[in-house]
């Protein structure tokens, strides 16, 4: 059955929000207003949005170093996200975490993670909690093709499988870990096959087709919520920017490849679909973009105007009371 129009528009708006957020974060980073590292999610928006649109507020997600999109899709406040990236006191982590460590436990965001694959064991534990709670909550962990190369990946799939935990392993296969091709680094190059060996159902879907992602996620979420155990889904996609915004690592991927993928922009694809189906007019599209841009602008203003943490704030939050 088709996705209703309101949903399609909502998906469009969220993808656009991520796109605009990332474009701005990138711009500000290059201007030097943002410190540290910023890993851009541009090009992969459909994955986070299509998956999270099927989650409840009390479902949990665990993200990775390329996490902005996951967080926005799960409902994070772009103001507090931007403030965190700016290193401000009003940020989600009071400026202690930055771009790679944003979390919002209040809406089930158990945090981004700077260590490749390290989120998988943690997500597995969160899924165990959900299993014990018995409230049909599920956990989704987002990670890349590179994460499939770490031992923690296999240990997590194995444990989730033998304990039949309510978790979705959402692999964003954007074909590279930094400059290393998944086809080189992953024996056989077939990630779902690797996951299937842990005795769980797997799917592979075009991660740049928001409708396919949404439909697949819907189905998978229903299965997992029903207590049928873990599920592995590969989303084939591509990142448009270099590994991160800093130019310390050159982008060695073929230019033609990058250009080809830009033509498969998930947002443009949905936009054309919405126009063709007359669900939105050019006007409507513009209106949404204006609203989104305003929201991002407001987030930046909020971040810029927020105070920096005091140096001594560094001494708080090492331990919980």
């Amino acid at each position: 059955m088709a996705i209703d129009n309101d949903t399609l528009v909502r998906l469009y708006r969220t993808m656009l929000t991520i796109r605009r957020f990332e474009q701005r974060a990138s711009k500000e980073y290059k201007k030097g207003s943002v410190p540290g590292l910023v890993h851009s999610y541009i090009g992969q928006e459909a994955v986070a949005v299509g998956v999270c649109a099927n989650l409840r507020k009390d479902d949990r997600i665990v993200s990775n170093h390329r996490g902005h999109g996951h967080l926005i899709a799960k409902g994070a406040d772009v103001r507090r996200m931007m403030a965190e990236i700016y290193g401000k006191k009003t940020g989600y982590c009071k400026g202690k975490g930055g771009s790679m460590h944003i979390a919002d436990f209040g809406i089930g965001i158990l945090g981004a993670n700077g260590i490749v694959a390290a989120g998988l064991p943690i997500a597995t534990g969160a899924a165990l909690a959900a299993h014990l709670e018995g409230k049909n909550r599920i956990t989704v962990v987002f990670f890349g093709d590179g994460a499939c190369q770490e031992g923690e990946f296999q240990e997590s799939l194995n444990l989730a499988s033998i304990w039949k935990l309510p978790i979705i392993f959402a692999c964003e296969n954007n074909m590279y870990g930094v400059n290393t091709a998944a086809t080189y680094a992953i024996a056989g190059g077939d990630i779902p096959r690797r996951a299937a060996a842990y005795d769980m159902p797997v799917k592979s879907v075009d991660g740049n087709d928001i409708e396919a992602v949404y439909e697949t996620a819907k189905e998978v979420v229903t299965e997992v919520r029903a207590g049928k155990g873990p599920y592995f889904v590969e989303f084939k996609t591509y990142r448009w920017h270099a590994h991160f915004e800093a130019d310390t690592i050159p982008d060695l991927r073929p230019v033609e490849e990058i250009e080809a993928w830009k033509k498969k922009c998930p947002i443009v694809r949905l936009e054309q679909r919405l126009l063709k189906a007359g669900i939105l007019t050019g006007q409507g599209i513009k209106k949404i973009d204006t609203q989104v841009m305003a929201m991002i602008e407001e987030a930046v203003t909020y971040a810029v105007e927020s105070p920096l943490p005091a140096p001594e704030d560094a001494l708080a939050d090492i331990y919980s009371a």
Partner: protein
């Protein structure tokens, strides 16, 4: 008072806390039979031989409202899960700005003395002390392990308990009635006036034996067991050294960058205590050698009573 073994006291701590709070979950590669029988397999879980996901799962559980216990067994196996302990458990509270609590207890057994060689014998607590965000306990008696484990389970932070393999059968007094041992409170196992001996884990018992022996030669030793390394009770140690003017730290771990090094530095950095020092402080530690298998060599690399008493006599007579 009733006397039970160190291992039994530890088990009692878990049993009591499990009864008290049904949101505690235990994971280990072995089947902890008594726990399993009383609390069932949902709460007492056998994991595959996958320490990394065991600790990671403990973090995920804790961040989702549970209290997680991960029993790694040998501390050497813990290195397989080091990313989850060091990069994740220790830092996650801080990186997220304190928005969530992570009540986690990780147990590891340490020490030499059973001819298990270098891959099954190590006392690596100082490595973890260098990582802010972890609390570290080092119980040396049946009484202390029960009270400290209970506090650890109730603590809202990642706590690592390092338990010396040879202490398991050690019998000690443990009251019937419930009690806990607070963190950061050192225990003066024996009072004395001439020299302060800070001893860690199994070395507490060696130090007490030496204290008795040198007492015959008229040396009055004060034996202090910090019991928890993070937080560390500087005050009790500092006051004792201010009183005695002499310090020996006995630590089975390899000497370089040991907890003993830390304790000595904390003491000598303190202007008031430094002025009162009558002799250079001394470390009696494990030699900087991987633990060898054969008993004569193994005995040689860990602190012996001879080395301890020699150090005590030396600081008293220099």
């Amino acid at each position: 008072m009733r006397k039970i073994a160190y291992a039994q006291a530890a088990l009692e701590a878990l049993q009591e806390e499990f009864r008290r709070d049904d949101r505690i979950v235990h994971m280990s590669t072995d089947i902890p039979i008594e726990l399993r029988e009383e609390f069932g397999e949902e709460r007492v879980r056998v994991t595959p031989i996958s320490e990394s996901v065991m600790v990671g799962a403990a973090i995920g559980l804790a961040g989702s409202g549970y209290r997680a216990i991960a029993d790694i067994r040998m501390a050497t196996f813990g290195f397989v899960a080091m990313d989850q302990m060091v990069n994740q458990a220790a830092k996650i509270t801080y990186m997220f700005g304190g928005q969530a609590k992570f009540p986690i207890l990780i147990r590891m057994s340490i020490g030499a003395g059973m001819s298990m060689a270098a891959q099954h014998s190590i006392s690596p607590y100082s490595m973890y002390m260098n990582i802010p965000g972890l609390k570290i306990i080092l119980p040396a008696t049946a009484y202390d392990i029960k009270g400290l484990l209970k506090s650890a389970i109730r603590d809202n932070n990642p706590v690592i308990s390092f338990e010396h393999s040879t202490l398991a059968p050690l019998i000690g007094e443990v009251p019937e009635e419930e009690y806990t041992v607070p963190f950061g409170r050192a225990d003066i196992k024996k009072e004395g006036t001439d020299v302060t001996v800070v001893a860690l884990s199994r070395m507490v018992h060696e130090a007490l034996a030496v204290a008795e022996e040198v007492a015959k030669q008229g040396i009055s030793v004060e034996v202090i067991d910090p019991r928890t390394l993070v937080p560390l009770d500087r005050e009790t140690i500092g006051n004792s050294v201010s009183k005695t003017g002499r310090l020996v730290v006995v630590d089975e771990a390899c000497q370089t960058c040991s907890a003993a090094s830390e304790i000595i530095s904390l003491i000598v950095e303190d202007d008031n205590i430094f002025r009162r020092l009558k002799a250079p402080p001394k470390r009696v530690c494990g030699l900087d050698v991987p633990i060898p298998y054969s008993p004569p060599m193994e005995r040689y690399v860990i602190p012996s009573r001879e080395r301890i008493s020699a150090a005590v006599r030396q600081v008293c007579h220099s």
